[in-house]
Subunit: 254 residues, 8 copies
Amino acid sequence: MDIRDILTRYKEGEMEMAEAERLLRLDFIERIMDHTVFDHAREARKGIPEVIFGGAKSPAMVAEIVRAAMETKEILLVSRATPEHYQAVHNLVNSDHIRWEEKARMIVVDRRNEVERVGRVGILTAGTSDIGVAEEARIVAEAMGCEVLTTYDVGVAGLHRFLDPLVEMLRSGVDAIIVAAGMEGALPTVVSSLSDVPVIGVPVSSGYGHGGLGETALMSMLQTCSPGLAVVNIDNGVGAGAFAALISRRCNRK
Amino acid sequence: MDIRDILTRYKEGEMEMAEAERLLRLDFIERIMDHTVFDHAREARKGIPEVIFGGAKSPAMVAEIVRAAMETKEILLVSRATPEHYQAVHNLVNSDHIRWEEKARMIVVDRRNEVERVGRVGILTAGTSDIGVAEEARIVAEAMGCEVLTTYDVGVAGLHRFLDPLVEMLRSGVDAIIVAAGMEGALPTVVSSLSDVPVIGVPVSSGYGHGGLGETALMSMLQTCSPGLAVVNIDNGVGAGAFAALISRRCNRK
Amino acid sequence: MDIRDILTRYKEGEMEMAEAERLLRLDFIERIMDHTVFDHAREARKGIPEVIFGGAKSPAMVAEIVRAAMETKEILLVSRATPEHYQAVHNLVNSDHIRWEEKARMIVVDRRNEVERVGRVGILTAGTSDIGVAEEARIVAEAMGCEVLTTYDVGVAGLHRFLDPLVEMLRSGVDAIIVAAGMEGALPTVVSSLSDVPVIGVPVSSGYGHGGLGETALMSMLQTCSPGLAVVNIDNGVGAGAFAALISRRCNRK
Amino acid sequence: MDIRDILTRYKEGEMEMAEAERLLRLDFIERIMDHTVFDHAREARKGIPEVIFGGAKSPAMVAEIVRAAMETKEILLVSRATPEHYQAVHNLVNSDHIRWEEKARMIVVDRRNEVERVGRVGILTAGTSDIGVAEEARIVAEAMGCEVLTTYDVGVAGLHRFLDPLVEMLRSGVDAIIVAAGMEGALPTVVSSLSDVPVIGVPVSSGYGHGGLGETALMSMLQTCSPGLAVVNIDNGVGAGAFAALISRRCNRK
Amino acid sequence: MDIRDILTRYKEGEMEMAEAERLLRLDFIERIMDHTVFDHAREARKGIPEVIFGGAKSPAMVAEIVRAAMETKEILLVSRATPEHYQAVHNLVNSDHIRWEEKARMIVVDRRNEVERVGRVGILTAGTSDIGVAEEARIVAEAMGCEVLTTYDVGVAGLHRFLDPLVEMLRSGVDAIIVAAGMEGALPTVVSSLSDVPVIGVPVSSGYGHGGLGETALMSMLQTCSPGLAVVNIDNGVGAGAFAALISRRCNRK
Amino acid sequence: MDIRDILTRYKEGEMEMAEAERLLRLDFIERIMDHTVFDHAREARKGIPEVIFGGAKSPAMVAEIVRAAMETKEILLVSRATPEHYQAVHNLVNSDHIRWEEKARMIVVDRRNEVERVGRVGILTAGTSDIGVAEEARIVAEAMGCEVLTTYDVGVAGLHRFLDPLVEMLRSGVDAIIVAAGMEGALPTVVSSLSDVPVIGVPVSSGYGHGGLGETALMSMLQTCSPGLAVVNIDNGVGAGAFAALISRRCNRK
Amino acid sequence: MDIRDILTRYKEGEMEMAEAERLLRLDFIERIMDHTVFDHAREARKGIPEVIFGGAKSPAMVAEIVRAAMETKEILLVSRATPEHYQAVHNLVNSDHIRWEEKARMIVVDRRNEVERVGRVGILTAGTSDIGVAEEARIVAEAMGCEVLTTYDVGVAGLHRFLDPLVEMLRSGVDAIIVAAGMEGALPTVVSSLSDVPVIGVPVSSGYGHGGLGETALMSMLQTCSPGLAVVNIDNGVGAGAFAALISRRCNRK
Amino acid sequence: MDIRDILTRYKEGEMEMAEAERLLRLDFIERIMDHTVFDHAREARKGIPEVIFGGAKSPAMVAEIVRAAMETKEILLVSRATPEHYQAVHNLVNSDHIRWEEKARMIVVDRRNEVERVGRVGILTAGTSDIGVAEEARIVAEAMGCEVLTTYDVGVAGLHRFLDPLVEMLRSGVDAIIVAAGMEGALPTVVSSLSDVPVIGVPVSSGYGHGGLGETALMSMLQTCSPGLAVVNIDNGVGAGAFAALISRRCNRK
C-alpha cells in the first residue's frame, strides 16, 4: 500500500485520519524513505550486485545467506570464497546461472538474461601477486555491465613495459583505470600521471617486512604527487570495480 | 625539429644517417615520448591547473616558482598559502588575473579569458572545520571547468540533515560528490550508500585523542561497507577536486 | 503544515493528490522524520546542552556560531575555549546567563531559569593534570541536571588514598562514576572493581615517552580486567559527563 | 572470627592485647577490608557472573578452574570456549545447570533456581559477523538478570534499516543499548544520536586491510561526534553486557 | 588514636563495642592500612624524595604544590622545571635548602641536615644530548643517599671509548649502572654484556626520522640479547635514578 | 700462552720482539681483552646460565647447539622449548643433570654438584596466563643461585588479594620482586608503590583487541607513576629472572 | 627492424614518411627506449639474476614462471622456496644447472658455463637465526660473480667476538660488508664504525615482544650514529646481496 | 710509550714483569685496540669529516664542541645549523676556512690546503622540498673528496623528465647515485631500475596526512622491487653522502 493508496482510501472514507496518519508516520517510515529519497538512487543502482563476504563464514552459512538474497536479487557475488563455499552454493542455483571464478576466488550467481554493456574500464597490474585482486575488480565491473580491458602480464622487466597497454587502453576509450599494486605501489601514480581519466588505486597485501601487507602501497597512493588518483582499501577489488563501473556508467548514461 | 623534419632533411641528404639516428635516439628521447605516448594525455589534460604547495616555503621562493610556472601555464594555484605568500605573488600578475581565496588558503592565478563549463560536481561537509578542505576542492574543480554545488552548512543537528541537499545535488545532475569529513568520518559512507554517482571521501585532520588528526576518518572511509566510495589523503582537497573534475569532464566530453 | 493539515486539506479538496503526495514525500521528508522517529529521542534529549568545540576557531567564528545556536538553544557550552573566546562571546549574552569556567576552559551559556536536579554523578581523579578534563565532565553533567560529587585531591601518596572518597560517593548514591586518569591509567580499573555502579574512564593526555599523551591510559582502560568499565576518547570530558548524566537521568526518571 | 568476636574475647580476657592487635592488623587485613570497604560493593555485585576466559587454555585447565570456582559461585561463564572445553566441563555439573551457547562460544553454568528480572537492555548489530560478540553480551546481561532485546538481522540494505527496531527498543523501555559493529563502525554513533539512553559500542574484529580487525571501528566510536556513546575493547562482548546490565540494574533498583 | 588506644578504651569501658568496631572499620581503614601493611614499606622508603613534574604547570601552581608538600617532606624535587618555576619556588624556601640544577632542569629542595651515604651508582652516557636525562637520574640517586659516579664525556670517537670509565666504575664498586642513550641506543646492551651488576637503560628522545624521539632506543633496550638490562620509559631519568638507588640501598643496608 | 709467557719467552730470547709484538697485538686481541677488561665481569658472571632460544629451531639444531655449549658450560637452559626439543637433547646428558620444566617450557641442563644459595627473589602474578613467563623467571633465578618465592595463585577476586603474599615476601627479605602481568598490567605499579625493593615488571602477551598481546601491559609499566619499577620486554621471563638474580647476588656478595 | 633499417628503407623509398614516423613513434617506443636510454644500464646489468619470489605461490605456478623466464635468462633464482617448489622446478632443468640451497631456501638455476669472478664481499651475522637471510645474500652475490666471505659462527659470547673475522675480511679486500642482525640489531653499527668500506645492514625478523619481527633491528640501523651504513628491508637478503655485488663489481670493473 | 717501548724497557730490565703486564693490560687497552685493530680503518677513514648535529643545541654549546673538535680535526661540519650557530662558530676559525651553506643549513670548517678528488657521485631530486637534504649529502661527499653531480631541477612535469640527467650521470661515470624523495618516494626505485650503479635512497620528511613526514617514502624505498637500492633514515643527507662517498672512494682507490 503506497502513499497514493492511503490517500485514496482516506479520501473515500475507508480510512480514518488517525489511521492514515499512523500509516504515513512511523510504520511507513522506511517505505516512505525508500520511495522518496531513495528512489533516486535505487533506480540508478539497479544492477549493482550484492556482494557477500565469504571469508571465514562456513559453507552452510554462506549458502543460507545466498538463498535469502536470491529472493530479491538477480545477481549476487560471493567474494573471498573457497571451493567448499562453491559446493555449498552450487545446488541452490540453476547451473547456467552460477560460475566459479578461481583467480578471483569469487562465486558469481547471475540470473539475468542479458546485460546491457555500458562503458569500458581498464585494469592494470604489474605482478602476478596482484591478479587475484584485479580479477575481483573485473568481475564486479562486468556484473555492472561494463566492458573490461585487462593487462596483467606486464612482467618484471621494468616500469616502461606498461606504456603500450596503457596507451591502448586510453585509445580504446576506457572511462577509468584500476591499477592494483603491492610492495612499493608506484604504478598507480605513474599511470595517473600519464592519463586523462580517473585512476583508482588498489593496494595489494603483498610485500613483507616494514610496510608489508599493502601498507606501503596504500601510503604511496595516498601520498601521490599526481592528482587524478583515488584509493580504496587494501585488497578491496570489489570496491575498486564498483567505483570504476559507477564512473563508466555515469559517463555512458543516455 | 620534429621527427618529420629529421626524416625530410635526412632524405634530402642534408643530414647523415648517424646524425639522424643520434637525434632520434637519446637526445630526442624526451621529445619523442612527449609527442607520442603523452600527446594523448597531454591534450586531454589541458586546463588542469598547476598546483604549487605553499606550506613552509618562503614567500620569495613561492614567487619565484610562480614566475617560472607562468611562462608555460595559463592557470596555476598555490595551496596552503598565507597572506604573505599572496603579497609576494600579487605583483607578478595583472590584478584581474589573481585572487586570494581565504577559506581555502589558496592563491588563484587564472589568465584564461573564459573557461568552458563542463559537468557538475557536488561538495558536502558536515562541520565547520571541514570547510577549508572543501573549498580547496571547489577551487580546483572550478579551475578545471566544472560547476560546483556546495553544502557546508549541514549544521550540528544530526546525520539526517544532509538528506535534502544530497537529493538536490543528485537531481541537479552532479557527476561526482566530494564529502569532506573529520572525526569519525561517517558521512561519506552514508552519502555513498544513498547515491548513484561516485563519491570521493576526503578525511579532514580534525579530531583529537586516539585516531585524531584525520586518521579515524581515513580508516572509516577505507573500511566503508558501501561500494562507490574512494578516498584521497587526509586534507587533500586538491586531489579530491581534481579527481571529481576528471570524472565530470569525462562524463561531459563531446 | 503537518501531516494532519495535509490530509485535511486534501480530503476537503483544497489539494490535489499529486500535491499531497509531493508534500508527504521528499519535501517533507525531514519534517516527517523529525516528527515521527525522532520525536522519541527529541523529548528525552531536552536539556542536553549544545557543545561547541572552540579549539583553533577564531573568537569571531565562535561568537558567530554561538549567536546562531542561541536562537534555538537555552543552554550551550564552548569547550577548549580561551579567554579571547570568552571576550568575544560575552557581549552576546546577558551577563547573568554566561560564565567562564577557567579550569575546564569552558564558556557556559545557560538561560534556563532553573534546572531540575535529577540524579547524582561522581568524578574522581588522581593527579592535578587530570582536573581540567574532570571539570569539563562536571560542567556537562551539571548542565544536564545532575548533582556532581568530585574528589580531585587524592594526592600523590598512593592508590589507597581514594578509598574513602570512593566509599563516600557510593554511599551517597551516585549512579555512575567518572574517573579521569593519565599516565598508566590504572585508577578506573581499581574503582570499577570496587564499585557496583557503572564507571566511565576518561584517559587524559598527560604522560610522555612511549605511550604518552593518553594512549597508555586508553589502552589500560580498554584492557581492563574489570567488567563495569567503559571508555570515552582521550581528554573527552564532555563525552564522559554526558554519558554519566544520561545514566543518572535514566535511573531517576519518573 | 570477625571484629566483634575479637573485641568480645579481648574484653573478656580471653585474648591479650598483643594478640588482638595482631589479629586486627596484618593477618586480618584482608578480612577487614573485605568486611568493611568492600561490603558495599559486594552486596550490590551479588549475581555478577564469574567469567573465565577459555581462549588457549586446555580443556583440562578450564575444567579445573571451573571446579574451583563452583565452590563459591552459583553462576559462572566460560567465554571463547570450544566444544572440547564444554566436554571437559560438562561432567562437573548437573546437566540442568549447564548449557552450550554456540554462537557466543560460551559455556553457561547457572545453578540458581530462579533469577529475578531487573531492567531491559537492547542489542543491535548490522552484520552477521557481529553476532558472536553480540551474543556474548546478551548472555552476560541475562545472567545478571536483565531482559535482553536483540536485533541482529538488520540486513545489508543500508543504514536506514535499523530505524524500526531501534524505535521499538526505545519504546519498550530499554535502559541501555549495546551496538556491536565492525569495519567502519558507524552504527553506534547513529544509534546514539537518535537515542536518549546510554549506548555502549563494541568494536568487532571484522574488516581487513588498513584499520581492519576492529581498529577502525574502535577509533570511530572514540571519535564519535555524539555524546552518549562509550566504548569497550574490540570483541569485548562480556564487558559490554556487564556494563549495560549494571546500568539497567541501577535504573531498576528498589 | 591507634589500635591499641581503641582496644584500651574499649576494654576500660570508655567505648562501646559498636563504636570500637566502627573505628576499626571503615573510618580507620586508611590508618590501619597505613600502620599495618604499609609500615613495612614506609620505613624503608624514608628518604625517597617527592618528585613533582613541572612540565606545563604554571609557576604559581608549582609553587602551591611545593608549599603543600613541604609540610610533610624534608626533600622534594621539581623535574622538567624552568627558571620561572625556580623563581616562584625560591621564595618559599630558606636559600640554604634550595638549588637550581640547570642541566637536569630540576629544582632541589633539601632541608635535611645531613644525608647518610649508602652505596654507589654509576651513570654513563655517550652523547651530549643525553646529559640532561643523566643528570636527572644523578640528582634523584644522590637525594636518596647514593654516591654517584658519572661519565658523560665519552666523546664521539666510537663505542670502545667507554671501556676505561666502565672498568673504573665496576672497580669502584657501583651496585648498578644507569646508561642513558638516544638514537640507536646500543650502549646499554654493550655495557650490560660487560658488567656483573644490573644495568638500567634510559632511552633518550633524541634522534629524528623513523624511530626517532627515543622509540628506537627503547626498542633496542627491550630487544637486548644481554640479560642484566632493564628499562624505564623514554627520558625518565627520575625513575632510573630511583631504581638504581633502591638497588644500591638494598645492597648496603645494615 | 698468556702475556706473562710471552714476556718471559721474549726476555729469555726465545722470541723476537716482532713476534712478541705480533702476539700481543692483533692475534691476541681477543685473549687480551678477555683476560683484562672482561676478567672483571667474567668472574662475577660465573654461574650465569647460557640460555638458548628454542622457538622455531628444529630439535636437531637445538641438540647440536646444546652439544657444543656443553663443552664449556656447566649449566644451560633452552627456553621456548617443546617436548620434541627435550627428546632430542635428553640423550646428550646424564639423566641426573637434565629436567623438563613444563610450565616454563624450558629444558634445564645443570651439571653442577651443588649451587650455593645467594639471596632471595620474589615472583608475583595475578592471572593463570602469566604463570609460564613467571616460571621462566624462576628457573633462571634459581639457576643463578637465588632462592625464589612465588605466588601465582592470587586468584581473580581483585587487586587486594596480593597484599598478604606481598607482605610475606617483603618480610622474608627478598631483594627484588618480579611481577608478571598481562592485559592492563596494573599490578607491578601497585606492588612497587608498596615495596622498598626494586620491582621488575614483565609484560605478558595475553589480552586481545586494541593494545593486546602485552603492548598495554608494557606501556602501563613504562608510564608508571611509581619510581622503583623497571621493565623487560614482553614475555621476557629469562631477562627478568637474570636481572633480579643479579640484584640479589650483588646484595648478598661477601 | 632498428632505427637504421627504418632510415635506410625510408631513404630508399621503400617506406613512406608516414609509415617511418609511425614506426619511430608509438609502436617502437619501447624498442627505442630499450636501445637508447637503457642500453647503458642493460649491458652493465648483464648477469644480474632474475629472482622469483616463491612465497605462497603454488609449485605449479612457480614452475610455469621459471619455464617462461628460462627462455631469456641464463641464471635465475627462486627465493622463499620450499622443497615442493624445488621438485616442481627440477624437471625443467638439466640437473647440472640446478641446485637446492637449503639454508637460504633458494632454488638456483644457472646455465652459464663459467662466471668471471669480480670483487669480494663479506657477510657477517651474530646469531644462528640470521643465517638464512645471510645465505640468501651470499647466493645472489655469488650469482653476480662476487667472491663471498662469510662468518656466521660468531657465537653468543659477546660483541667482541666479531673483531677477528672483521679484520680478516677487511684485510682480504672486501668492497662491502653485509651484516644481518635481528633483535636489537646493534652489530651493523659496530661493524660500520670499525670499517672503511660501505656496510649494508639487513634487519632479520627474529625477536619477539615490542619491536620484534625485525622492526627494532631496522630502526636501530636507520638511527645509527655511524655514517657508512645503509639498510634494506627486513629479511631482504636478496636486495643486500645484489647491492653489495653492484658495489663490488663497480669497484673491480676494467 | 708503545708496545715496542714496553718490550724494550722490560728486556733491558728497566721494567718489572708485573709493570709490563699491567701496562699491556688494562691501562693500555684502548691504545692497543687503537693501534691494532683500528689502524686499519683509521687510515682509510682519514678525511671523513666529523659531523656535529646542531639541532636544538645552543650556539654557545655548538661553538664549544667545535672548538674542542678542531684540536684534532682538519675538517668538520655542523648540520641542522642556524645562522646563529654560524655566528657563534665564525670567530673561532680563520675566515678562509669556514663557510655557511644556506640550503643545506650546514657550517663547513675545512682547514685542509687541498683535497684530492677521488671518484664521482650523482645526486637527483624531484621536488624543491628535497633540495636541503640533497645539499647536505653533496657537502659531505665533497668533503670526502668526491666530485658531485647534482640535478635538482627535474621540475613538476612528470617522472620522465629525469631520464636525460640520469643518462648523463651514468655516462659521466658516477659510482653511486643518491636520490632524495619525499611524499610517495617512487623516484629512487625508478632510478635504480635504470642504473647499473648502487642507488642510495634518502626519504625526505615532506608530505602530510597519512604516511606523511617521510614515512611513506621510507617504506616505498624499503619495499622496492628493484635490487640495487639501499636506504638511510629520513632526512639523513649526511649518511647518504658519506655512504656514497665511501663507495666512490673504494672504487677509485689506488
